[in-house]
Symmetry: C2
Subunit: 253 residues, 2 copies
């Protein structure tokens, strides 16, 4: 029996503007791909409003269920930026000024430039450590296994650089793809066979319509390379036995 | 005291491919804007894997919390399409063939074209009613306040046409926007003032960086038009009193 080490994460996207349709989230996809490179599997995402109780409950529910939790949004200088305060409440700790964050803002804006509003961005839960923001200096923070980041995609992405040494992944999820140019339903039986034969491999079927032709991508995912390769070989063989053509594409998560 | 009728919804995006980063969800934004036109506010979104227990628990948790629940994904013909079966389990009802769905597929594919795999798409929870699919005929379904739709955006969008007569909205969320070309933090105090003055208006501040300039959009949202207009007028006035310029933009949710 092969031992597999699986490390999991959840993401909380905080912001009325995503739920209202004003803004399209661009962070989920980026975080997911980054986590995969780190050997961490994103298992659940929640999009929630800028609401104190909802933030507290969601953080507390997910931080005990998953190895890591990442939040985006709500850490700016205005009244609607209530994430940091409610993370402190969720953990039941004080909400305090970080001298380190204050120094970063003083350096970035100059002392006169740090208004009361900007001072909001120096407040973190007691015991949290900062996450560097190379783009606009106002930091995110880590509280235990919860990482609190900005919502603006370029800032959020820059914050991940500082997390590479703080995240400890498990066996990476590997993936391979096979593409066919017929409806997925023709292949339903063999897909099921292959997935049943390899309990450590999951197999997704994703139909597409391209150049006026129906087709499907079959994506095999596993943390065990040997089983992934065997499953791929068996799937390709079964498709050929059916007298159908298929194409092995690049790995796609 | 003005009476406001608020109708709420949650969305469940079901699919390993969204969590793995393979596919970017395109349905959240579309559904959100559609719901708003229907007078329904999207209050929570969850992205979950193709996992039986997770689907059942999530559906049961959200269908009692919100007026409507919409799911996307997992209703195709292959082994990984497990949404319909688990909605039946969530409701504790049998999973049965819909003669109406069978007829639709027979018409679309011809009797010989309806393979065992495609027959999967005729199975629905007992008591559910179908949702028409004008694109590829395999229907979605409604079970009480839960609407189960396809994941492919063009199909999902086409299914919404059939729901316009089944959704009963409340007072629509209205919105107006004011844009400034300076950092949002300068305006933090007046934003907070305006929000406090109008308890039925929420005010979001969304910074941007455009043409090498910092700026921010202030978005006012309310279900009461009169209060929205007053709040907008007060915000614009306060910005002018500060000696700053601002631009009223088109309504943006």
């Amino acid at each position: 029996m092969t031992e597999i080490k699986t490390v999991t994460a959840a993401m909380i996207i905080i912001g009325d503007e995503i739920l209202s349709g004003r803004t399209r989230d661009a962070n989920l996809n980026h975080l997911s791909l980054w986590l995969n490179r780190m050997g961490v599997q994103l298992k659940e995402v929640r999009v929630i409003p800028d609401d104190a109780i909802t933030i507290q409950n969601t953080v507390n529910e997910l931080r005990v269920q998953f190895d890591y939790v990442f939040t985006t949004g709500g850490i700016g200088p205005t009244h609607d930026d209530i994430t940091a305060k409610n993370i402190a409440k969720a953990f039941g700790v004080n909400f305090v000024q970080s001298p380190e964050a204050l120094e970063l803002l003083n350096k970035h804006y100059g002392k006169e430039g740090v208004s009361d509003a900007r001072l909001r961005m120096t407040m973190i839960p007691e015991g949290a450590t900062l996450i560097k923001n190379p783009v606009s200096s106002a930091p995110g923070f880590q509280m235990e296994n919860v990482f609190v980041m900005a919502g603006i995609p370029v800032v959020m992405q820059s914050m991940l650089l500082d997390l590479e040494m703080r995240i400890f992944g498990g066996d990476k999820m590997l993936s391979k793809a096979v593409h066919v140019f017929e409806g997925e339903s023709y292949f339903a039986d063999i897909l099921e066979d292959v997935e049943k034969t390899f309990p450590n491999v999951s197999l997704g079927s994703y139909p597409f319509f391209r150049n006026k032709k129906y087709g499907a991508s079959f994506v095999l995912r596993s943390q065990i390379e040997r089983e992934l390769d065997l499953a791929l070989a068996m799937l390709v063989l079964k498709i050929k036995v059916m007298g159908k053509e298929c194409f092995e594409g690049e790995a796609a998560l």
